[in-house]
């Protein structure tokens, strides 16, 4: 997995609550059997005026001029600022894949849905929880400052604004460690193979019906 240590980038403000994963990447694009290439269809129904199709060249599609990512001032943005309960809905990891493929490295919101939050960490995308008033403040600062950038320092667990103001954030120690080092979860877990086998040995005595049951 790609490491995340420190990142500075242009902030795009998506000012609506309960942004769901259907909105982040609509279902027709979930038919892909690949992990990459979802960026052009990120927020497809908000971003374009027509209905998108898988494997379509999006360069000629009519854009919705009101949508934030279509405004020139937010071109090249890599930090998404959002409202509460971001990423609610389905478990599709295509949502963080699409955000990542578009170029986002971090999402800042007052709260995230659990599965989306978890999926982000598996893909080197950092979800950051700040409180409502901090998020409000950032929305206001982005609005009045074209080219507004934030620096995210995962080592120190702070978001730094252009004026130098710092917003501390919490992140689970294990997840932080994996992001900072770019570690592969599966490889880490397999280091505990003996513990897993010991558990199975014990569990097989207690609940044998949970083993060797699913077969043709």
């Amino acid at each position: 997995m790609r490491k995340f240590t420190q990142h500075t980038g242009v902030v795009a403000p998506l000012d609506r609550a309960n942004v769901d994963t259907d909105m982040i990447i609509p279902k027709q694009f979930l038919k892909s059997i690949k992990r990459a290439g979802f960026g052009p269809n990120l927020f497809d129904e908000l971003r374009y005026m027509d209905e998108g199709q898988p494997d379509q060249d999006c360069s000629g599609r009519p854009l919705n001029p009101d949508f934030v990512l279509n405004q020139p001032r937010y071109a090249g943005s890599s930090v998404l600022l959002a409202r509460e309960n971001f990423g609610c809905g389905s478990s599709r990891e295509h949502a963080p894949w699409a955000l990542d493929d578009y170029g986002f490295r971090a999402v800042i919101a007052p709260s995230f849905a659990d599965i989306f939050y978890n999926n982000c960490f598996k893909n080197g995308l950092l979800p950051i929880v700040l409180n409502d008033s901090q998020v409000d403040q950032l929305f206001k600062e982005v609005e009045v400052n074209e080219g507004y950038q934030l620096t995210i320092d995962l080592e120190r667990q702070v978001v730094v604004s252009p004026s130098g103001e710092e917003f501390a954030f919490e992140v689970d120690g294990f997840r932080r460690h994996c992001l900072l080092e770019g570690l592969d979860d599966i490889g880490l877990t397999l280091q505990n193979a003996d513990s897993i086998k010991a558990y199975e040995e014990r569990r097989r005595q207690e609940a044998p019906w949970l083993f060797d049951a699913i077969h043709n």
Partner: protein, 473 residues
């Protein structure tokens, strides 16, 4: 020391290793696979040269992309080439790794969350995961079940474990007696209306109280299915006699002496009387009426006799903005009656409401009646081939067809419109599914979530009606 909650017991029984940083390794007994969220996981295994840890913990079936019309031509006849490739990829991955799969034309094929319990793959006291957020459904049997992303699907395939952090304990207690015509779907929609779509974030949500106990296991599945719409990735109900009876004789259920041992163990799958919850929500069953969602989030829900909200009456600016946006998308005006919403399509199906009891409830309402002439389509999509077979034995298919509804093959269908069943732009649908998000059932489509009985009543009337009025006629 306080007693343990059901979630505490399930967590403790599956803890492989607790790390100092608060993370833990928990053991997964069962994984269900479908075509949408598994291909990249299998690809990841291959790229890393890994093998599944256990083959016999997995079961696969295609459900999201499969057509619900005639399937005699098999997978090669799936019209959409992208859908076809995805279903074929599941087939070849399962064949390559030796994983049991109920393929598209197998009688046992169906929606993963219907098939798992139906086969006794899901069992009380087990941990169940699937790359699908509605995996919370399986918690209805005293299992610890939740949706995971594709990276975790791969992780479970490779290690039989998940890296997890213990959630908080939340209890939603519904006491009292549900009125006639008020179903499990209305209960869960009402709960979401009360606590909101983020009300259970970070929590394992147990549903208890006399009204939940009085529900059938299928009704409990409907409630746990939508715990995710209340923010909780885990929903659960304690084991009782109904739970145990449900599993007797199912294909993958324990047999003989093992069955007796299992039943003894399952009886302990209840929260202790002195268990402490981090959050408790109390609901009175008598307060619940048949529900209809009017907006673009499941929390935008009201009783059928209410009026659509007015954003001017909302003090919170973000919420008022949300109401305005939803009214615009849904093509509704503030203060209009829910019963005045005219419908274009009706969908009865999905992992929320496609089991035999759901179909019986809908059939009872449409029996001897006709679908309104103003509807473009009314679909009934059973949750599995076995549900379909049972419904046909009972003659439900004939009742639906007679009334003017279409009787289809099993799958996810119009719940999320990955197959050809979808809404057109601007069309209103009374749907027994679980999400009314923008575009969920088709580009520009407008979803209203309801119970099977309410959907059936709406099909007859062409607009929403209180099903209790039809029941009295």
């Amino acid at each position: 020391m306080a007693g343990k909650t059901l979630y505490d017991k399930l967590w403790d029984a599956h803890l492989v290793r607790q790390n100092e940083d608060g993370s833990a390794l928990i053991y997964i007994d069962r994984q269900i696979l479908h075509e949408v969220t598994s291909p990249q996981a299998f690809e990841g295994l291959r790229l890393a040269g890994r093998k599944p840890w256990r083959i016999d913990a997995n079961l696969a079936t295609p459900d999201h992309n499969v057509p619900t019309t005639a399937r005699a031509g098999g997978v090669d006849q799936i019209v959409d080439p992208v859908s076809r490739i995805q279903v074929k990829t599941l087939d070849s991955n399962c064949d390559d790794f030796g994983i049991v799969e109920f393929k598209m034309n197998d009688l046992r094929q169906g929606i993963v969350h219907v098939v798992g319990p139906e086969q006794g793959m899901t069992l009380p006291g087990s941990t169940v995961v699937c790359g699908d957020s509605h995996t919370s459904t399986h918690g209805a049997f005293g299992a610890l079940a939740h949706g995971i992303g594709t990276s975790e699907v791969e992780h479970v395939l490779a290690t039989q474990c998940l890296i997890a952090k213990k959630m908080k304990n939340m209890l939603v207690r519904v006491d009292g007696q549900l009125g006639a015509g008020v179903t499990a779907k209305d209960v869960v929609l009402h709960i979401i209306g009360v606590i909101g779509t983020a009300g259970g974030t970070g929590c394992a949500m147990e549903f208890g109280g006399s009204a939940i106990q009085s529900l059938s296991v299928e009704g409990r599945m409907t409630i746990c299915n939508m715990s995710i719409e209340a923010g909780a990735r885990v929903g659960m109900v304690a084991v009782d006699d109904k739970t145990i009876e449900y599993f007797r004789g199912r294909p993958f259920s324990p047999k003989g002496e093992q069955w007796d041992r299992a039943v003894e163990a399952w009886k302990d799958l209840v929260s202790d009387a002195d268990a402490e919850f981090d959050h408790v929500v109390e609901i009175r069953a008598e307060d619940i009426k048949p529900q209809v969602t009017w907006g673009t989030s499941p929390e935008m829900v009201l009783p059928v006799d209410a009026n659509v909200p007015n954003p001017e009456a909302e003090a919170d600016a973000v919420k008022a903005d949300g109401i305005r946006r939803a009214l615009k998308y849904m093509g509704l005006s503030a203060d209009q009656k829910i019963t005045d919403i005219q419908l274009d399509r009706v969908f009865i199906g999905s992992c929320t409401n496609s089991r035999i009891e759901d179909l019986r409830a809908a059939a009872e309402v449409v029996k001897g009646r006709k679908v309104a002439a103003t509807l473009k389509q009314a679909l009934v999509v059973p949750g599995s081939g076995l549900v379909k077979e049972q419904a046909e034995k009972e003659g439900l298919d004939k009742i639906f067809i007679e009334a003017g509804l279409e009787w289809r093959e099993p799958g996810c269908s119009m719940c999320l419109a990955m197959n050809p069943d979808k809404l057109g732009q601007g069309e209103h649908c009374a749907s027994t599914s679980n999400r009314n998000f923008e575009g969920r059932q088709g580009f520009g489509g407008r979803t209203h979530l309801v119970s099977p009985a309410m959907a059936a009543a709406a099909a007859v009337a062409g607009h929403f009606v209180d099903v209790r009025e039809l029941m009295n006629q």
